[in-house]
Symmetry: none
Subunit: 207 residues, 4 copies
Amino acid sequence: MTVSSPSASSAGSPRSVATKARKASVLAAALDCFTRLGTDGTTIQDIQRQANCSIGSIYHHFGSKEGIAEELFLDGIARFNKGMVRQLKKCQDAEESVRAVVGYYCDWSTRHRELARYLHSRDIDFSTDAKARLKRIHQDYIAAVFLWFAPFVEAGQMRQLPIDTYVPLISGPIQEYVRRWLSGHHNIGPKQVREVFADAAWNAVKG
Amino acid sequence: MTVSSPSASSAGSPRSVATKARKASVLAAALDCFTRLGTDGTTIQDIQRQANCSIGSIYHHFGSKEGIAEELFLDGIARFNKGMVRQLKKCQDAEESVRAVVGYYCDWSTRHRELARYLHSRDIDFSTDAKARLKRIHQDYIAAVFLWFAPFVEAGQMRQLPIDTYVPLISGPIQEYVRRWLSGHHNIGPKQVREVFADAAWNAVKG
Amino acid sequence: MTVSSPSASSAGSPRSVATKARKASVLAAALDCFTRLGTDGTTIQDIQRQANCSIGSIYHHFGSKEGIAEELFLDGIARFNKGMVRQLKKCQDAEESVRAVVGYYCDWSTRHRELARYLHSRDIDFSTDAKARLKRIHQDYIAAVFLWFAPFVEAGQMRQLPIDTYVPLISGPIQEYVRRWLSGHHNIGPKQVREVFADAAWNAVKG
Amino acid sequence: MTVSSPSASSAGSPRSVATKARKASVLAAALDCFTRLGTDGTTIQDIQRQANCSIGSIYHHFGSKEGIAEELFLDGIARFNKGMVRQLKKCQDAEESVRAVVGYYCDWSTRHRELARYLHSRDIDFSTDAKARLKRIHQDYIAAVFLWFAPFVEAGQMRQLPIDTYVPLISGPIQEYVRRWLSGHHNIGPKQVREVFADAAWNAVKG
DNA sequence: AATGAATGAGCCTTCATTCAT
DNA sequence: GATGAATGAAGGCTCATTCAT
């Protein structure tokens, strides 16, 4: 807002700006290749050609093919989670919150089709380091979400259910629908059916 | 060899019995490898070692690596579908049918964990021939299921919804739960929460 | 000698004969490449071209580049040791034995120049398995040699010296000479100077 | 900082002092890497990390990886040779000289284990320029040594032998012992066995 | 039907070196 | 003098598939 904003000074040197741009272009190329060819079907050369850079440069920044896949995944998850929590905090009550979950899922998957598809596809094969980072991200997310919903359950606005069933009940149908839509099975986009799934979600967990 | 042996006459010649056993052992080995190493991560040698046979033998029976994956997939799908339809036909009304879908999903996934997991993986590149066979299987299944449920919708026992939403609404939550359970995220088995999901499914589509 | 000789029946199937021939030709090619280009300077392709076989075939038989180097080394050492022990056992007394060591070293290095050079060059980089096999070979050899010489030391025909000094005293000079000769520094072959070194060896350890 | 500092005036400008320190730290890092990883197994990055400087800096000072290896080798040889000649010149007669060679070899190898090990490795590919410099160094050394010993041979204090056999006879055993000790095969250090090898050396060449 | 040696295209990765800042 | 991102040729190795026995 002001001239002396700290974020301005922390923007980094021109070098790091260039580095970020290079990394971003590689990640974009990788996502596109993974979508078209599959994670295993994509070669470093595919990515390198599309990112218009050298093989060496990729390895300089990411270390390995796995390193690219991990960074793409972790970044994506973190961004999705952050947005979800932000949406929840705008809500006033339980019903609005549950419907917001379904709605955000719809919106985000529609806006970031390829990334959404990629995030759906994997839960294996990560390095020890990446697994640890992922666990951290996941725990923070779960903590934030449960902190949000717990009061509604206690207040009786939502049913008391086995803890592991909430996510499948609320997100399961829309997730399955989005998955099928991303795979090209359906013609009607998520946004046009979101109310159906929002209704079902609220019905499944309301008090 | 002998004339009156029932098993001989129903299963074919002794040669084909040995062939079937060999194929079955290869398929079992393949399923285990796919589960542990991923479809792409599994090599012919992995399968061959575990099936305790030669490379040549595998190629003799399946033609290619893809051939194994396809046969495993198509067999599995066909068996799952057949069982589902059989369950439906025992039902008297809409609610019992919807609950049967959830229940069968639970039971089958619990009894055939690895196969269920394999059938969930959508990233298999099938040959043209296999795609055709799969399409056939799928169409037969969809036809049977819709034939079963259509009268209930017409009679008002079930809501009239966009056609593509029924499956996600009914199976989505339990599928998501099973997927997470298969990945080791949950400790409570599907059977112990099936009523929760059966309730939600019926609530989502009842008239 | 006779038709029914056991060695004839143990010669193995045609397949293993072919396998042995293939392995031998790869080892010969590798030795030549290692000599000309250095162990690290040699590529699999160099070996494969010279052995006139495919890359895959090499990996089928040796598993890795290191596998070739190890087999070459272990085979060579074992053959050298076996010959040395055979020579010793022909000797009558201490002096003849000491002179035989120098003589055998001369002869063998002259007959197997390249292999001798290769065996001189390495004592690192082996796999755990190869290290174990090498240790076994070495211990057997040391045991055989010391068993042979111990009585001479006890009988006073040879000096009592720190155990680790015998080998350098007896073999050191001729080894160093051979090493330099193999590197092309000298023009006079080992055989023409063996008496000088045999004299020195005996002088150094005689009682 | 001050004008009259002797080290400043003898070592040149402050800039060259820093340059020398940087070069020395790179050479030290290189030697350690070569020892641990082998010459071929060491990468520029290994050295750069250990010397705590940038890749560009190394290339600024040494031009290439080979340049580092050469400088290390030539410096080491020159220092070894200079010390050996200095020792010889302190001796009064043939026996003292021969024993001095063995003694110096022991002392130097013990004090500079890693460098001694590196100088032993004969498999370095030098540039034409380095080969020329090495030849010069070697010739100067050989000339000085033979100039020193020639009178003793003429005077009959030492045996007349083929010219190429002196070095193996005198230095061969101790070299072989040191080599084995550097490789970790022996527990008793060179200094504790030097008399044994000095005796053997003198016996082998005395008149 | 079974066997396993042979094939070679293609993959991931390394690494010495250059060069703009 | 220092820095480190960029380069791309080259290397070791994998693996689906073929085929002679």
